[in-house]
């Protein structure tokens, strides 16, 4: 058997089984995977380090925590509690994902030499070779994606994969909404360069 960790990319069938299994095992053992909430938790940790009044202990709240920020305070201070105790399952899970990406890349043989980790091939083919432009656009992309994900209450992991796995209406709604905007945007934004 070839070592799967050395391959640059898995065949779609192995990929589909592996992706399915990790979503299945996590919902069986702990809870469905979700990622985007942890951006809020990390923001909260930064914010708390400069503002000691952000998170307060509150006996009247169900979690025992409250926040001066309306979002951290929602659902009886659930996020406020996680900001105060970042060593919880969901936050550590996301930190471990960074290590997973690192390990996977480290073991990969025959890396894609064309890809410098800044400009994807399709970007070079349609937009050009400016790394500054790429950084500006990905930054804006990050702002829009996380703003949208928080408004929607989840992202590709939480809504699309975990949600649709459970046949949740919110999951289908999110998937349809994202494809309605992303497909035309990608087609327009990455249309062929005039040459």
């Amino acid at each position: 058997m070839k070592c799967l960790l050395k391959e640059r990319e898995w065949d779609w069938k192995i990929s589909g089984v592996a992706l399915g299994l990790i979503f299945l095992v996590t919902v069986m053992v702990v809870k469905p995977i979700g990622v985007s909430t942890q951006f809020v938790i990390l923001d909260g940790i930064f914010w708390k380090s400069v503002s000691s009044e952000l998170i307060v202990k509150d006996d009247k709240s169900k979690t025992g925590y409250a926040s001066s920020n309306a979002y951290l305070n929602k659902s009886s201070g659930k996020y406020a509690q996680n900001v105060d105790n970042p060593l919880n399952y969901s936050f550590v899970f996301v930190i471990a994902m960074i290590m997973g990406g690192f390990i996977s890349a480290k073991f990969t043989k025959n890396k894609d030499e064309e890809d410098d980790g800044v400009l994807p091939q399709v970007w070079k083919d349609t937009i050009g070779n400016s790394t500054t432009k790429r950084y500006i656009i990905v930054f804006i992309g990050g702002v829009l994606v996380l703003y949208g994900a928080r408004m929607a209450g989840g992202c590709s992991s939480g809504h699309m994969m975990s949600g649709m796995m459970q046949t949740s209406i919110s999951g289908y709604l999110f998937a349809i909404a994202t494809f309605i905007s992303s497909v035309p945007t990608a087609m327009y934004f990455f249309s062929k360069k005039e040459s």
């Binding site: 990929s15 930064f46 929607a152």
Partner: protein, 184 residues
């Protein structure tokens, strides 16, 4: 214990997202341009496969899954539309940007910084619209097509075997994954 599980599962999820090609923005952008269906096949197969086993195992009593259904409300659709625009221009979503950054992609790292700013802007603005129509529930909120067996979640296909409903949807997804061509 839960932290140890988080490390194991997080590591595995990170490796898997990287190996399936999801942390490669070239693949993702070309999926959204409807030019390359590798990731689409992976996603359809992954959801179908996990959903089928989840509902069959659960109905057979093999496991007791920790279902956690999110609320459906207007903002899921509007947020999804905003999400889709950022997703398309960058080629990343929250999970894949984190894995990409770990794998050494500089564009992914910039996306993560942008993401932290976006999440922060949401935290600052949430209070101004938290009582608006954006959070009006759809179909009762926490609702699924197949019966999860969890009392607090509404069910659309009520009274029909959950294995049949979820299994049927799952098989359609698996068939789509198989018949989609790899590329245009």
């Amino acid at each position: 214990m839960s932290v140890l599980l988080a490390i194991v599962f997080g590591l595995l999820f990170g490796v898997i997202l990287h190996k399936v090609g999801a942390a490669n923005p070239h693949r993702l952008i070309n999926m959204l341009r409807l030019k390359d269906f590798h990731l689409m096949k992976v996603i359809f197969f992954g959801i179908g496969f996990s959903s089928l086993l989840l509902f069959v195992f659960s109905a057979a009593g093999v496991i007791e899954p920790n279902f956690s259904v999110k609320t459906a409300y207007i903002g899921v659709g509007i947020g999804g539309i905003i999400f889709g625009i950022g997703w398309a221009i960058s080629g990343f979503c929250p999970g894949t940007s984190i894995v990409g950054a770990g794998a050494g992609r500089k564009d992914a790292l910039v996306f993560v910084v942008g993401g932290l700013v976006g999440a922060f802007l949401y935290m600052l603005t949430y209070g101004s619209f938290k009582s608006t129509f954006l959070f009006d529930k759809i179909l009762g909120g926490k609702v699924t097509l197949a019966d999860t067996g969890v009392e607090k979640y509404h069910v659309i296909a009520e009274g029909i075997s959950s294995s049949l409903v979820a299994g049927g949807i799952a098989i359609v997804m698996i068939v789509i994954a198989i018949i989609l061509p790899k590329s245009e």
